[in-house]
């Protein structure tokens, strides 16, 4: 640590000179932080942990690949018999297990958490098992990982050892310079970059000092080179030992489907509730009044005509109210405005909005009915939000087509601060919209800083 802090100032000066005349405080600060980071790195835990991981997981991968290779070869050779097939299957099963070990190693030593791939689903019977094993994409990907990992480890270990070895032998040179043979160098630097190996040969005091500084550079560069190797390895693990992209896609679709199913169940429930509390109650009351009126008329001699007239009047009013309610409910199920096209429907919404709203519409292709309906409901909900929560004086809506996508942007000049979902189980309307949009692989983005303005962007495919 002391070394780091002492060396920091010259580094900083050297760097700053090259930049420009006008160096801002911030640039100085940034360079300083970077220099400190580089100088401290070899003395932190991380590069050594990475090196250890690389060695351990490389060793494991080597053994694993040897095992998988041997068993597969045996399996293929004996494939004509059941025994060979069983060996092949076991080989793939162990590849899956080895993949899990690698994942656990990465988790424990690098703190890299990789999601579990989908579990192995076994079909009944030996042939069922065999079929599932041979089709297990996770296992095959694990085999692929081992095949790539082993050569990568060999290269990485070679580079790492060259760097660390050269670094230490150069750093120690001033102490041993009298042996006149130069530092004992190894691998990469001496064999590839410097074929004539100027590092070796008789040394004097000044050459020793130069070698010492070269050693310093190697020493501080080594962790970063190692990190490069480990990073590539991490990407490999992620790509080949993590969840299958196809499986992930299936999961996303499953989630979207369950949202759709839930949403449609909720919609049906809401419609039932509306009918039950509204129209049905209205009609029952209406029938009741008519029933009362009928009985009054049947009374015989003393018909209270005024009362009958009043009852019929109330029934008449109730019937009209029921018609209105029914129309509103029907509109909630399918907006008739959509029958005249999306533009007309959106224009109706915009003109009906409580906040003055202008609409720009630029879509040439006609989206499928499902997309039109989603766009319509999204706009209806968003404009309702603007009217209720935003305290806006105006809003603008743009609906434009880019390629096979429909982009709906709703902007308002309100106070902002909108969030996608509220804390807890209850979700805001925006979260509901997000779910709705996701069911067709669309997306919803919300930008709403406190103080506004709020911009909601919805991208929908033209067809599903």
């Amino acid at each position: 640590m002391t070394l780091a802090t002492e060396d920091a100032p010259p580094e900083e000066r050297k760097e700053s000179k090259g930049v420009s005349f006008a160096i801002t405080e911030e640039q100085v600060y940034r360079v300083k932080t970077l220099a400190q980071r580089i100088l401290r790195e070899p003395f932190t835990r991380r590069p050594w942990m990475e090196l250890a991981f690389f060695l351990v997981s490389g060793g494991l991968a080597g053994i694993g690949l040897a095992f998988i290779g041997a068993t597969m070869l045996t399996g293929v050779v004996l494939a004509i018999t059941f025994f060979g097939l069983a060996v092949l299957g076991l080989s793939l099963r162990s590849a899956r297990g080895l993949g899990r070990w690698q994942r656990d190693l990465a988790h424990n030593m690098l703190g890299e958490t990789i999601e579990e791939p989908g579990a192995f689903i076994r079909r009944p019977g030996f042939f069922g098992w065999l079929q599932s094993v041979l089709r297990d994409r996770v296992a095959w990907r694990a085999v692929g990982y081992h095949a790539i990992k082993v050569p990568w480890t060999i290269l990485g270990v070679y580079v790492a050892f060259s760097l660390w070895w050269d670094a230490f032998s150069c750093l120690l040179e001033p102490i041993f310079w009298r042996n006149n043979n130069g530092p004992g160098t190894f691998g990469l630097i001496s064999n590839i970059f410097l074929p004539n190996n100027p590092l070796q040969g008789p040394t004097g005091f000044d050459r020793s000092v130069a070698l010492f500084f070269l050693g310093l550079i190697f020493f501080f560069a080594a962790p970063w080179v190692m990190r490069g190797f480990v990073t590539v390895d991490k990407l490999l693990i992620r790509a080949l030992l993590g969840p299958d992209p196809i499986a992930a896609r299936v999961r996303t679709l499953e989630q979207a489907r369950s949202h759709t199913v839930d949403a449609s169940a909720a919609t049906l429930r809401r419609i039932e509730r509306d009918l039950h509390d509204g129209t049905q109650a209205q009609l029952v009351a209406l029938a009741m009044r008519l029933g009362m009126a009928k009985e009054k008329l049947d009374d015989g001699e003393t018909v209270d005509l005024d009362r009958v007239r009043q009852l019929i009047d109330e029934a008449h009013r109730g019937a009209k109210e029921a018609i209105t309610e029914l129309r509103d409910i029907a509109r909630g199920i399918h907006p008739p405005a959509l029958d005249i096209g999306l533009e007309g429907a959106l224009a109706t919404l915009a003109s009906r909005s409580a906040v003055p709203t202008e609409l720009h519409y630029d879509v040439h292709a006609r989206p499928t009915p499902a997309i039109e309906a989603i766009a319509y409901y999204c706009l209806a909900e968003l404009l309702a939000n603007v009217a209720q929560h935003a305290h806006a004086s105006r809003a603008s809506v743009s609906c434009a087509q880019t390629g096979s996508w429909l982009r709906l942007v709703v902007r308002d000049d309100g106070r902002g601060g909108a969030r996608l979902s509220t804390v807890g189980s209850s979700s805001s309307g925006l979260a509901g919209l997000t779910d709705r949009v996701r069911t067709v692989d669309g997306r919803l983005d919300l930008v709403s800083p406190d103080g506004g303005p709020t911009v909601v962007t919805i991208d929908l495919p033209l067809s599903v």
């Binding site: 509390d277 109650a281 209205q282 009351a285 009741m288 008519l290 029933g291 009362m292």
Partner: protein, 218 residues
């Protein structure tokens, strides 16, 4: 009937609640309370006890079976209080819960029945004095739901009609009017039904309803 019957109403749809109040006042009932949710009915009944409570099944807060649970609770607490459950739909399960102990002073009607004002008022009066009023729909469903239809298959068409009307809580006289036969004929059918179903004859109308339903539910 001596004096005006006192009725409490719990119904969350205002339009229907107001309509019911109007109808019942028109028919000479006294309304002790007309409220929109279970809690309010509880306190209304405690302050001003009615003879019969008309209770909507779906009420706040969850709009599921608040009314039914309230009815069971009120029945346990206020002996002799008639309860008329009032619903947009008939759920056999609810009827079974309600009739599990005793069918005396219990009614379960579709809301539509208020359209036939006289029938509705008559059903309400029957419940108030400890009788039973079941919607024909309930009876049909209960008969449909029972697993022992093979036993019922021993009944003639006429006997089944009589059984259904009996299950609604009607007296022999009312059944006779409904089927346009003599009261004597009804009595004969009832006796046959009891004999075929192995039920002892009882003098109270609601007892026989209970017996029939017990049998159907078993």
């Amino acid at each position: 009937m001596v004096g005006a019957l006192r009725v409490a109403i719990a119904e969350d749809a205002a339009i229907l609640r107001d309509g019911l109040v109007q109808l019942l006042v028109d028919r000479g009932f006294v309304i002790t309370g007309a409220v929109a949710e279970p809690g309010a009915l509880r306190s209304s009944i405690a302050q001003n006890p009615p003879d019969v409570a008309v209770i909507d099944i779906r009420m706040p807060p969850t709009f599921t079976d608040e009314g039914l649970r309230l009815a069971l609770e009120l029945r346990a607490r206020h002996e002799g209080l008639g309860i008329l459950l009032f619903s947009q739909y008939i759920e056999t399960r609810y009827a079974a819960d309600l009739l599990a102990d005793d069918a005396a002073g219990i009614g379960y009607l579709l809301k539509d029945r208020v359209a036939d004002v006289s029938d509705f008022v008559e059903a309400l009066e029957r419940v108030a004095i400890g009788g039973t009023a079941l919607d024909p729909e309930v009876v049909t469903q209960l008969i449909g739901a029972t697993r022992r239809t093979d036993t019922l298959s021993g009944l003639t068409m006429r006997e089944r009609e009589v059984l259904a009307l009996m299950a609604e809580g009607r007296s022999n006289g009312a059944i006779a009017t409904a089927l346009v036969i003599s009261e004597g004929a009804v009595e004969k059918h009832v006796a046959n039904i009891f004999a075929k179903l192995d039920l002892p004859v009882s003098e109270y109308d609601h007892r026989r309803v209970l017996a029939v339903l017990r049998f159907l539910e078993s």
